[in-house]
Structures are given as C-alpha cells and as structure tokens.
C-alpha cells in the first residue's frame, strides 16, 4: 500500500481560534460560558466537550495519581475520562453536559473538590 501522505503542517499544537467548526458559530445565538476563568462561546445545545474542542482545548482534566492530562475518549458517557468541574460540582462528564449560559467550568485536578476542607490539608 502507499506510504503516508504529504507531511504534516509545521505547527504541532492546536490554534486557539475556532477553525475546527464545520459551520461558523452564529454569534447572535451563542451561549457564553466560562472555562478556567476564560470567557468562551458555544452553539445552543452543544455539550461542554464539543464547545471546548471547538475552542481548541484538548485536555479536560489531570489525573489524581500521575497528574496526566485526559480529554475526550468515547464521547458517549461510558468512559468517565472527560470529567470536569461544573459550577463547583466535580466529576461531571463534559460529553453529557449541555452548556448553559453563565456556566463555570474548570479543569478538574484529580478528584476535584479542591476547595473542600483546605484546613485539613492532604
């Protein structure tokens, strides 16, 4: 079979603009939400996972033991890799949660709930 095709583009990282959308976002209908203290926009009815992917975000959380990044895997709610913190609640599946206006979404670090019992330490 033929070898791999023309070389990849020079940039290895994702651009931060919305180039992965097949149809450009209708700004008048966009839903504004917050991700890691950054204002982002989603199309109505979009999940957090899709909105973040469209915004160039590939890592949704870091794991507890090894601190490794995880993103979308199954996109259907069975793998529990796409966990983010939504409005303070940890362990929300980004691929199953529809973006609402004003939502506060954070990268989940480990098990999340990092503001629980800071006085006890770890």
């Amino acid at each position: 079979m033929s070898a791999s095709r023309s070389p990849a583009s020079a940039e290895g990282s994702r651009p931060s603009t919305n180039t992965s959308r097949l149809a450009s976002l209708d700004r008048s209908r966009a839903v504004r939400f917050n991700f890691d203290w950054q204002e982002l926009e989603a199309a109505p009815g979009e999940t957090i996972a899709v909105a973040l992917l469209a915004a160039g975000v590939s890592s949704l959380r870091t794991t507890s033991k090894k601190g490794e990044p995880r993103g979308l895997f199954c996109n259907m709610g069975v793998c529990f890799d796409c966990l983010v913190e939504v409005d303070g609640h940890a362990n929300q599946r980004a691929c199953q949660t529809i973006v609402r206006a004003g939502m506060q979404v954070r990268t989940q670090r480990g098990h999340g709930y990092t503001d629980v019992a800071p006085e006890l330490g770890e």
Partner: protein, 411 residues
C-alpha cells in the same frame, strides 16, 4: 501420594476464617479452609472501622440497631421509656476482647506488609466522633460515660468543640463524644493479608467448595460433606458467618446466629475532609484511604436477601447529608449490602460446644468482625491446640444461650 488428613478444617472464608487459618498454620497445625463465595459475605460489606470502645458501648454502627431494638421493646411494653434501655452497653469481657484485639493492629499490619506484601491500610486518624442530635441521645452518652472505666479514650465535647475538631460536621448537634483510640483499616485487604500469611505458613485453601453438612458420628464431628465428597478432619471450625446456624444444624447443633443485612453507600473519592470517623443515629461515615466516603448502614432482619432497597439507600443518604452537609453533592460510586452474623446478645460465639467433640465455633462476630479478628483468631487457635486462652472464653461459649433459656423458664 495421598494428601494427609488435615488436623483442622475451617468452614468459611471471611476475615475470621482467614485469621484463624493464619493463627493455626503459624502453630504448625495442618489446616485447610473451605469456602463458597455466597452473596452477602459480611467482610466485603464492612466499613473497616476499628471501633472497639464504640461498638462495645453501642455508639458505633450499633446505634441504629439499638434505637430499633429499644423502640421494639418499648412497643412490646417491656420498657417504660426507650431511655431506660441500657442494652447498648455490652459486657466488660467483650469490651476487653475488642480493646485487646484493636491493640494488636499496628504490629500486625506491619508484620503482614513485611511478610505478605499486602497493606491492610491501617491508618490512625482522629478517632470516632459520635454526634449527638437530641437530649435522649445525650442522656445515653451520659450513661456510657458512667459505665466506662478510666483509661479508655472517651471524651465529651460541646458542639463548638466538636465543630472545631471536625470542621465539616453539621452544626445541628447538642453535643458529641470523641473516642480517640478508634481507627480504620481496609477490611478486604485485611482478610487478604491473613489469607496470604496463612498460605505462607502452609495452610491450604479450597475455594468454590460448598460444605453441605457436618458429619457427626455419635458425639464427634469427624469431617464435612461437600459437593465433591467427604473430607475428614480432626476438628471442624465453624467460621461460616451468617450461615453458621444452618451449618451447625446439619449435625443437630445449636449455633444461634442470624443474618442482619447492612446496606452501604460508597461515594467517589474526595480530598480528605474528615479527621475522624463519624457516628450518628442516622448513619456512620468513614472516609477511606483513597478518599472514598463510606456511609452505612442499615440493620435489617430479612433473611439472606442481599438486595439494596430504595428506602434503605434513601435513609442512609439522608443520614449522611444531615451529619456531613458537603456530601450532598458528591457522586455515589457503589451501593451494596452484606449479611452480618448477628446474635441475640450481640456477643460472638467462640470455642467448643457442650457435649460434642471435634467442633469449635468462630462466628457471631456481628458488627465487630474486623476489629475482633486478631484476638478471636488467637483465642480459637489456642483453644484448638490446647494452649491456655489468653482471655476468658466463657462469656462467648454457645452454651450460654441454653443456660439463659433454662434460667428464664425456671425463674
């Protein structure tokens, strides 16, 4: 080459069975353990709390049981007021057994880790904190304070002190009691450690082996019948937990153990939010090593039914949210149930039975199987090999039930 007849057959692969196997194998006894993984094994439904004093005075997971019992007795006209029920405070010999057994854990955990590589996850924490919700419970705590000897970690706290000690605790309490010497362990790994240690000392294990009956020849138990045939033994040890009574009955022996179902809720992992284990009349709460919070437990007499129920789970969740408000938003990882081996007087059934040779009880651990396992195993092993038991076995012999019956019919 024929396998030599084991000196001892243990029926039942829970923490007690494994611990006894270890203590016997250590003493160079040829021991074989038979187990069938029936649903509802108590060891896998335990919180792993090591609460010797708490359980001995009915402030551990016994609180809920006591409340039910007191209410029942009051309804039956046996009690004027539920407050008059002192049944939660168990006899001193049992408390002594639990305290002594608890004291063995630090060294045991280290020894097991070194020899088997299994970490029991024994961790000392803030202790066991009992949150008092109302005056009735406060009165009970006062009775407990009077009943306990000096030298045991038991301290009364005001609501302010309790909340300072345990910041995530509910503010809606009238007082608290702190038992600082009560810690935690992983019950499954504790059992696994005993099992591996027993194997290392030459014990044999046959899993997936259901014992259908004890074989009795006259006044002697000579072995067991299994689905695969007869297995002879010098001594058979009944460590069958909730199934002990069934097993004993096959030889016409009394062993009054009955299943008490406990439903449990386990949450997803949280950062460490609790200094101590919590106990309330609504539930107990233990945060485990990996951060998961265990909420338990119901105490139901429903035979061998190990299903979880909507009411059971809802009650536990309500109790948890009441005691530890932050838990409301935490995800549930798992709910399940186990069958504790219960006895009427809440004490275990250990040692020989009257009028029968070749049979020893190691059952009826009810709520204290994990904390009692190390000492229970020693006592049973000492009894089997003819050593002087290092603590009195008399309060735990099965004959106490017959004597009590005689006494009540005579008196």
């Amino acid at each position: 080459m024929r396998t030599p007849t084991p000196d001892v057959l243990i029926v039942g692969g829970g923490v007690i069975g494994f611990a006894v196997a270890y203590e016997l194998a250590r003493r160079k006894v040829k021991v074989q353990l038979l187990d069938k993984d029936l649903p509802g094994r108590a060891t896998s439904a335990s919180a792993g709390g090591l609460w010797p004093v708490g359980e001995a005075v009915g402030l551990g997971c016994g609180v809920i049981y006591q409340a039910t019992q007191a209410a029942k007795r009051q309804a039956a006209g046996e009690l004027e007021n539920a407050e008059d029920c002192d049944d939660g405070i168990l006899p001193a010999p049992f408390r002594d057994l639990l305290v002594a057994s608890n004291a063995l854990f630090p060294a045991l955990a280290k020894e097991m880790l070194d020899t088997t590589g299994v970490d029991m996850e024994f961790r000392t924490g803030g202790g066991l904190l009992f949150a008092v919700y109302d005056e009735q419970e406060q009165a009970y705590v006062e009775r407990v304070t009077r009943a306990l000897p000096a030298g045991l970690h038991f301290e009364r706290l005001t609501p302010e002190e309790a909340c300072k000690f345990e910041p995530q605790l509910t503010r809606e309490l009238v007082g608290a009691a702190l038992l600082a010497g009560e810690h935690q362990v992983n019950p499954m790994l504790t059992a696994e450690a005993f099992k591996r240690a027993a194997l290392l000392h030459g014990a044999q294990f046959r899993h997936d082996t259901y014992v259908t009956r004890l074989r009795r020849e006259g006044d002697r138990i000579t072995g067991v019948e299994t689905e695969g045939g007869f297995l002879p033994a010098g001594i058979v040890i009944n460590a069958a937990g909730a199934w002990s009574s069934q097993l004993a009955a096959t030889a016409g022996l009394a062993c009054p153990v009955f299943p008490v179902r406990g439903q449990i809720v386990l949450t997803h992992a949280l950062p460490h939010a609790l200094r101590a284990c919590l106990s309330t009349s609504g539930c107990y709460i233990a945060q485990k090593l990996h951060g998961e919070v265990l909420i338990g437990s119901t105490t139901e007499r429903v035979g061998f039914d190990v299903s979880v129920t909507p009411e059971g789970i809802a009650n536990l969740c309500r109790g948890a949210v009441r005691a530890l408000p932050l838990v409301r938003f935490v995800g549930i990882k798992r709910v399940w149930a186990g069958l504790r081996p219960g006895t009427e007087d809440e004490l275990p059934i250990l040692g020989p039975a009257p009028g029968i040779e070749g049979y020893v009880n190691a059952t009826g651990a009810f709520r204290t199987g994990i904390v009692a396992a190390p000492m229970t195993a020693r006592l049973v092993a000492q009894c089997v090999v003819g050593e002087e038991p290092e603590m009195p076995l008399a309060p735990f012999l099965v004959e106490r039930f017959a004597k009590r019956e005689l006494a009540s019919t005579a008196g």
